[in-house]
């Protein structure tokens, strides 16, 4: 699978913004410096991936997971990243949980709504059936008690 060179680069606009936000106001960033940092970032991803993959292989896993990435950071001597990364991971997991619950809630609401619509349609019939069933159940209970 051949990637075009551009595909392995990160978008200039985002890289520039990250740099600007990290440096004091009014500092000028030369185009070459920006391009250098962007290339460095791509190399960083490759290095981190390769390192994380070693940890996955050690654990006999084929899928890279979060702890592999954290271990890679330590290995690469970027321990300073570990705490903020763990915080980001917690935030991400909370976000995912929230999304999951929201979509489950939506599904519940949707089901309820569909039920309600069906009830409205055959309301008379259903109610009669329900009443009959209830009466039957009550009778059954009474019979069992007697037995």
């Amino acid at each position: 699978m051949a990637e075009r060179p551009e595909d392995l680069n990160l978008p200039n606009a985002v890289i520039t913004r990250i740099i600007k936000e990290a440096l004091p106001d009014g500092v000028n960033i030369s185009k070459e410096a920006r391009s250098a940092i962007s290339r460095a970032a791509s190399v960083f991803v490759l290095y981190a991936t390769s390192c994380a993959n070693n940890f996955a292989m050690k654990g006999k896993r084929k899928t890279l997971n979060a702890s592999d990435v954290l271990s890679a950071m330590e290995e690469m001597e970027f321990q300073r990243f570990v705490t903020p990364l763990k915080e980001a991971l917690e935030a991400y997991r909370r976000e995912q949980k929230g999304k999951k619950e929201a979509s489950e809630q939506k599904k519940k609401d949707k089901d309820k709504k569909t039920d309600a619509e069906e009830q409205d349609k055959g309301r008379d019939d259903d109610n009669d059936e329900d009443e009959e069933r209830l009466e039957e159940e009550e009778q059954n209970e009474e019979e069992e008690v007697d037995n």
């Binding site: 699978m1 030369s30 991936t49 899928t63 980001a88």
Partner: protein, 131 residues
Amino acid sequence: MADAVAGRDKCGEPRLVSLPLSRIRVIMKSSPEVSSINQEALVLTAKATELFVQYLATYSYRHGSGKERKALTYSDVSNTAEESETFQFLADILPKKILASKYLKMLKEKRDEDEEENDSDDGSDGDEAES
């Protein structure tokens, strides 16, 4: 569209990660031994890359000669790659720049050295080759 650059999502909340996950994924997958990547690993790698960019930029600025001029230059970054152990892995892709004239001079000096060595060898070898 502006929000994507400003780093905020549809609701105006700051994004967890600004770098595009799809692009990070392409780079990660270009690594030959990697089979699959869990979504959390992808998010963490993207976040780590952002932290890296910030760190490289601030480190280079603090240690660079550009501090007086309130600018970050290429040589600030390449010096960091050369001088800091943490950033050594970047040394090959961020070579120090020299003037073309200086490079040509270096080439010439090397060529002169090689020629001198050849001259001293020819004297003794020539006779042996014949017999």
